[in-house]
Amino acid sequence: MGHNWKGRVIFHVDMNSFYASVERVYDSSLKGKPLAIAGDPKERRGIVVTSSYEARAYGVKTTMPVWEARKKCPDLIVRPPDFDKYRKVSSDMFQLLQEYTDLVEPVSIDEGYMDMTLPFKQGSTVAEANHIMRRLERELGLPASIGIAPNKFLAKMASDMKKPLGITILRKRDAAQKLWPLPIEEMHGIGQKTADKLKKWNIHSIGDLARFSPVSLQQRFGVKGRKWNERANGIDERLVDPDAANEIKSVGNSTTLEHDEDNPEALMMTLEKLSEKVEMRMKRKQVTSWTIQLTIRYNDRKTITRSKTNANPLFTAKEMKEQAKVLLHEHWSGKPVRLLGVTALHVVPVDQAYKQLDLFSYQKDEKEAELSQTVSHLTDKYGEHIISKGLLTKK
């Protein structure tokens, strides 16, 4: 590879039994033992979310009920999931990957793509992948598999081929030999239902799909049908997009009250504070929203969420508070409240927002627009802090 490599170099990094691995980092007594993470281990109906390779050797599988897993593996240790812990380790993991390239796209909590084209052009070798894998294990205690390929699809397929702790290179020209014999269900992006449909067309392996007419596939399944065919042939143009996971869809804030509260005025005050926080965060992210959602958790833990969509985008804490207040008024049962939350749903970047002006009151917006234009001229010229809204500064 190295200098002669003409295409892209994509890594797919996949943590092996991530939750179980994290648990072992925090509790070394679990090392080398069969371990399952399950919904609620006290409940017999809990379901296995993931399990260590030791447990898998006994036949424990994801989505298996705990009682069944225990039957297969009597020594099984069952732990409840702790997502805060997993998120923390996940962010450490992505930070480590970012030391190698800026182009890291998190796909989920435990896997991501890296575009390593540039480092490779500058002389990196496959040894780099080994380095990453060893560091993940040594520094974070996370076994990982890495797939290396000229595109995302092949990289993803490759990382699945050697688990745990494997590095697999899959070139486009290897597709016929390594990919095509695999059953169609194993193709990334094809679920059971799609697989069943494809089988009716006599497509049983990835090779069958690769050789099938892309035109017919597109006619039957739309554009994605054609994409499947391309991918089965080792073609995938998707770029590694570090921002893909960052697209914000909602901005919200919630707070657990100091004591269970049933005084409407105290609840209103809380809504005001929450709305202010949401306004601040939306401003920072440069987004706006039409829909405000209110979350109420009562003292019996029963939780309701109710939302309201406004005709025009909401920018200020005051506007959001008004919506939240109406929602509280309409939906609060009057019982003591333990937690309140205000969330702006379906947010969009401010530059995509619009407001239908009112024939009777457009002058207000006209003035406001002039003012905000003047402010942005001033800040462009003299910097952010030259001017700010009144009332914030006290003499």
């Binding site: 706006t288 985008p313 969009v348 401010v350 530059d351 995509q352 927002a353 619009y354 407001k355 239908q356 002006l357 009112d358 024939l359 009777f360 457009y362 002058q363 917006d365 006209e366 627009a369």
Partner: protein
């Protein structure tokens, strides 16, 4: 009560009054149609208490006999069944006969329906209106005025008075105005009044009433007498009365909302703008906001664009007959403009802009009887 009536005449009348009948009324008797027979003829009435329609079929006119009255009387019949039955009866004549306990027999050809009627005494009396404020309009003109304004009424109950069309008469000019506070449609016409120097204002007719009335109006020059009182309006035809409740509340003053100073003016064929907006809206429909951007370019060219972040973008250049004044970039709800263009019968329209953040006016070029006003959309 007992009479024999010509079927076609009867069916038409029943269908007219049935327009006022609502199945969702809180007053049970109003689910029925009232029939009243005298030696002069048959009177039918339907009402949902907002709209009431009374239709009269004379026993005979100069040409023909329509009704053979055997016994005077009255009855109320369930509109749901009665209206469908008379439409489907096979003969040229229908015989209607009420026996005791409101049991009613409908007979036509060899078909007999026996219906249970309701007590006509329970049916509310239609108001007797003071006719001191009356004016007249040809049917086809009234129909046009409704079509050209009623689409702009608000369909939201937050400001009920905006769900109606406001009528005003001053110096012999009738003005109809409708607005949902985002767009406004106005239509004027010269009217004849039987009252000297008739002035009326703040007569707000529910949009729903006008839509029903429009279905009854024919494309003829025959005059309609329009009687206005404080709470009711009556449209009086030769053999039909159409009553509507008026909306309470003060209609906003709209005269001073119409800008006079233009910053940018354009003139172009109605159809071209309409089709261009239709194409542009193909994309913004997806975003459900109908936002269209308009930009003036060199050489009397207008650029229409619409962007949907998920679907894509459309750009179209329109050659106008004239573009005058300042350069302009403005965004607006394209659907509202389309609604207005669809009711403009003239070939060319004139648009007067007063800035990107203030209302603009759309008018046909060949007369000044019609005006549409729109507020733009603010982008950030």
């Amino acid at each position: 009560m007992h009479f024999i009536i010509q079927r076609d005449k009867f069916v038409q009348s029943v269908q007219h009054v049935n327009k006022a009948v609502s199945s969702r009324t809180t007053i049970p008797i109003l689910t029925g149609i009232k029939l009243e027979v005298t030696s002069d003829g048959v009177t039918l009435t339907g009402s949902d208490s907002d709209i009431s329609i009374e239709s009269f079929i004379p026993a005979a006119d100069e040409e023909k006999e329509y009704v053979e009255v055997k016994k005077e009387g009255s009855i109320v019949l369930q509109a749901r069944f009665f209206a469908d039955i008379v439409k489907k009866l096979p003969g040229d004549d229908i015989e209607v006969m009420v026996q005791d306990q409101f049991a009613t027999t409908l007979r036509s050809g060899s078909v007999v329906f026996n219906l249970n009627g309701l007590d006509p005494e329970e049916y509310p009396q239609l108001p007797k209106l003071d006719e001191s404020r009356t004016f007249r309009l040809p049917q086809n003109l009234l129909k046009d005025m409704i079509r050209q304004t009623v689409f702009a009424v608000s369909n939201q109950e937050t400001r009920p008075v905006l769900t109606g069309v406001n009528m005003e008469i001053e110096n012999g000019i009738l003005t109809c105005t409708a607005t949902d506070s985002h767009r406004l449609a106005m239509r004027k016409a010269i009217t004849e009044s039987t009252t000297e120097n008739l002035t009326i204002s703040n007569v707000v007719i529910p949009g729903k009433s006008l839509n029903e009335l429009s279905k009854i109006l024919d494309d003829t020059d025959d005059l309609v007498d329009i009687v206005v009182t404080g709470s009711q309006i009556l449209f009086q035809f030769k053999h039909l009365l159409f009553f509507s409740r008026l909306l309470d509340g003060k209609y906003p003053v709209t005269k001073n909302m119409i800008p006079e100073q233009a910053k940018t003016q354009i003139e172009l064929p109605t159809k071209e703008l309409l089709h261009s907006l239709e194409r542009a809206l193909l994309l913004s429909k997806e975003a459900k906001n109908n936002v269209i951007n308009l930009k003036t370019l060199e050489g009397d060219v207008l650029e229409v664009t619409s962007i949907s972040s998920e679907v894509g973008k459309v750009t179209e250049k329109i050659h106008c007959h004239q573009v005058e004044g300042e350069e302009l970039r403005i965004s607006f709800n394209g659907k509202n403009i389309m609604d207005a263009l669809k009711v403009i019968d003239s070939e060319m329209v004139h648009i007067m802009f007063t800035g990107a953040m203030s209302p603009f006016i759309l008018r046909p070029t060949d007369h000044d009887q019609m005006l549409h006003l729109f507020s733009p959309v603010r982008t950030y």
